[in-house]
């Protein structure tokens, strides 16, 4: 049954288990009906015992009693003290031998007839008198013995009628017991199979689904399920797959939104707000572990002129090109953001002022000789002024202000240069 179910591709659990239950009820019903049939046989047999057999037994007992009476009256014929008593006994013998209760049993009727004839003859002989009745009495005793045996036979015949009925009842009861046992075994097997099927096709899949749901995450691949037979389980498993897919979609959308919120739309660099958050955290970390960290502020030189000469579109192109250059030149771990207009902020982790200066110088020089193609095909170049401040010992705002002051210094000293803020003690 299980392998048959496995052989099928799609089964409605409700229908499948309903069908199984129906088959079970049907089989059990048939077996109960068979047992009921046996019970009916028992009832009929006991009714027969009551209504037919018992009266029949009574008849046999009565016949036995009458045969015994016949024997006794025969004795009396011989033993009677007076002819009247003898005559009376003989009369009873005649009546018993002719009575329907004796006549209806063939063997008994024959024997009784024999007894009556024998006793009639014996009586005539005795009435005729004189002769020794010894040999006749001996013969009577042999005949009486036969009557005695007949009494036993008739009694047993009667009892046997009940024995027959009772063994029929016992046989039916035994049969009913076998059937009942078989019915119980079948019911047990069916229940066991039912439970096994429910476990295999419903409980185990549900447990798998439970595990899959509790570990469902965008960090893991969509859960894989063994192919299930039950349609209901299949659809739940498919729904879990869909749920995982929509989780992934949501995650992607969240990423996109996050990017929109944290990035500068024009350059693709992180925006000022995100920079401040990230830089603050980085500064805290560096200060806790007493690591060097440097903050920089940069500004494209004479960007207003560029805008005025070529227009804002060219200005945007230049800003985008500069952003690309910055990402190309700086290290992966360095943070840079568009701080506003043509102004950029930097954070150089694990970098002393000197190390940061070398990086900044490299950026400045690369920028100065970097050709930027503007939309009309011409090439333009921009220069960069930058101020750096050590941030390993002060809040981000202080470091930014000092870097800005150094930037101002760089502008004042003729642009296209990197200036360092003075150490804090010297201020």
């Amino acid at each position: 049954m299980i392998s048959q179910l496995r052989g099928l591709k799609q089964v409605h659990a409700g229908r499948a288990f309903g069908l199984l239950a129906a088959i079970f009820v049907l089989i059990l019903g048939v077996m109960v009906a068979l047992v009921a049939l046996d019970q009916q046989r028992v009832l009929e047999a006991t009714a027969r015992l009551q209504e037919e057999t018992v009266p029949e037994i009574i008849r046999y007992q009565r016949l036995a009693r009458n045969l015994e009476q016949l024997r006794q009256e025969g004795e009396r014929v011989f033993a009677a003290a007076t002819p009247q008593a003898r005559q009376q006994a003989m009369f009873v013998v005649t009546l018993v031998a002719s009575h329907p209760s004796v006549l209806e049993h063939k063997a008994a009727a024959e024997l009784a007839q024999q007894v009556e004839t024998f006793l009639g003859d014996a009586m005539r002989q005795m009435t005729a008198g004189a002769r020794d009745s010894g040999p006749v009495y001996e013969e009577w005793q042999r005949l009486a013995e036969r009557v005695g045996l007949m009494v036993d036979d008739v009694s047993i015949q009667g009892i046997n009628l009940a024995t027959n009925d009772l063994s029929y009842v016992a046989e039916a009861m035994r049969l009913a017991r076998y059937k009942l046992t078989a019915a119980l075994i079948v019911a047990g097997l069916f229940l066991a199979m039912f439970v096994a099927l429910i476990r295999i096709h419903l409980i185990y899949p549900l447990q798998r689904i439970d595990r899959a749901l509790s570990t469902l995450s965008v960090d893991r691949p969509a859960p894989e399920f063994e192919p299930s037979t039950m349609v209901e389980i299949q659809s739940v498993e498919a729904a879990i797959g869909e749920l995982h897919a929509s989780l992934m979609e949501n995650e992607a959308a969240r990423h996109a939104l996050e990017k929109l919120a944290n990035r500068d739309g024009l350059t693709g660099l992180i925006n000022r707000r995100h920079f401040m958050q990230t830089a603050d955290a980085e500064l805290m970390r560096a200060q806790r572990y007493e690591r060097p960290v440097t903050i920089g502020m940069a500004d494209l030189d004479c960007f207003k002129n560029l805008n005025d000469t070529y227009g804002h579109a060219v200005g945007d192109t230049v800003l985008r090109a500069f952003a690309e250059l910055v990402q190309e030149v700086l290290r992966q771990s360095d943070l840079v953001c568009r701080y506003g207009g043509e102004e950029f902020a930097f954070l150089f982790p694990e970098s002393s002022l000197d190390e940061a200066q070398r990086l900044a110088e490299r950026l400045r020089s690369r920028c100065a000789e970097y050709d930027i193609r503007i939309p009309d095909g011409r090439l333009v170049r921009v220069t960069l002024s930058m101020g750096l401040a050590d941030a390993s010992d002060c809040p981000i705002e202080t470091a930014l202000r000092r870097a800005d002051e150094a930037l101002y210094q760089a502008k004042r000293l003729g642009r296209n240069r990197v200036e360092l803020a003075a150490p804090v003690e010297a201020v």
């Binding site: 018992v54 009266p55 009574i58 008849r59 009565r62 016949l63 009693r65 009458n66 009476q69 016949l70 009256e73 009247q84 005559q87 009376q88 009369f91 009873v92 005649t94 009546l95 018993v96 002719s98 009575h99 329907p100 209760s101």
Partner: protein, 247 residues
């Protein structure tokens, strides 16, 4: 609601009426004979006794009814039972077509045979023989149907009288009566010999008769008879009055 109350009241009334009706039915008039030796006779104290009397009393007790035993004679018992004067004819009756047309027969309570009593050599139906029978009995009917000359008497007890008086030369006597008569010296002195008459209409099932006005009694009587057969009452009565099982 009113309808329900009415219905209830009607039911209660019906029950009460049924109760009184049953009370009336609880008393049965049973016709019996008092001069059939062995079967229905009076003992030394004048009390009714015998096999048939014993059985009828046992049946009444088994049916839980009060029975009043009313003595009658065989020649009128069928008519009086048919007319409803008696509820039950507590007399052992062989079933004949005439009787069956007038009364309801209960299940047989014993099986009888009839005996021909005559001087040695006188066969049934012999010419010039008058036969003594009880008037209205199956034996009477049989003898007349054969065209035999009969001398009718009223009771079983009187069957020997025509013989003793020389009015009859033979008698057809039912088994139980014959048993009783054989015990009497004056009957034995007649020197009659008996032979069993094997004609079916003279033997076989003997039953009580029920008035056609009380048909419901048949089922009760049959069930009661079956019960006393099974519980031993029947056998004790049998042993008390007859030398062998007559059932």
């Amino acid at each position: 609601m009113h309808r329900v109350l009415h219905l209830l009241a009607a039911l209660v009334l019906a029950t009460l009426l049924a109760g009184t009706a049953t009370g009336a039915e609880r008393n049965l008039r049973v016709a019996v004979l008092d001069s059939s030796p062995g079967m229905a006779f009076r003992d030394a104290n004048g009390e009714l006794t015998g096999f048939t009397i014993g059985i009828i009393r046992a049946l009444c007790e088994e049916m839980r009814v009060q029975c009043t035993l009313l003595v009658t004679t065989l020649d009128s018992v069928i008519e009086d039972t048919a007319s409803g004067e008696f509820d039950i004819a507590g007399v052992s009756l062989l079933e004949t077509p005439e009787r069956r047309a007038k009364v309801i027969f209960a299940k047989p309570y014993f099986r009888s045979i009839s005996l021909w009593f005559a001087r040695p050599g006188v066969q049934p139906g012999a010419a010039g023989i008058r036969v003594s029978v009880v008037r209205g009995s199956a034996q009477d009917r049989f003898a007349r149907s054969r065209g035999w000359e009969t001398v009718g008497v009223l009771t079983n007890n009187e069957l020997s009288e025509p013989l003793q008086a020389g009015l009859a030369q033979a008698a057809i006597i039912p088994m139980a009566t014959a048993l009783g008569m054989m015990k009497k010296e004056e009957f034995r002195r007649l020197g009659l010999v008996s032979s069993v008459m094997s004609e079916p209409e003279l033997g076989g099932d003997a039953a009580f008769a029920i008035s056609p006005r009380r048909p419901e009694l048949k089922e009760q009587m049959d069930a009661a008879l079956e019960r006393i057969r099974r519980n031993g009452t029947y056998d004790r009565i049998n042993s008390l009055f007859l030398p062998f099982r007559v059932n």
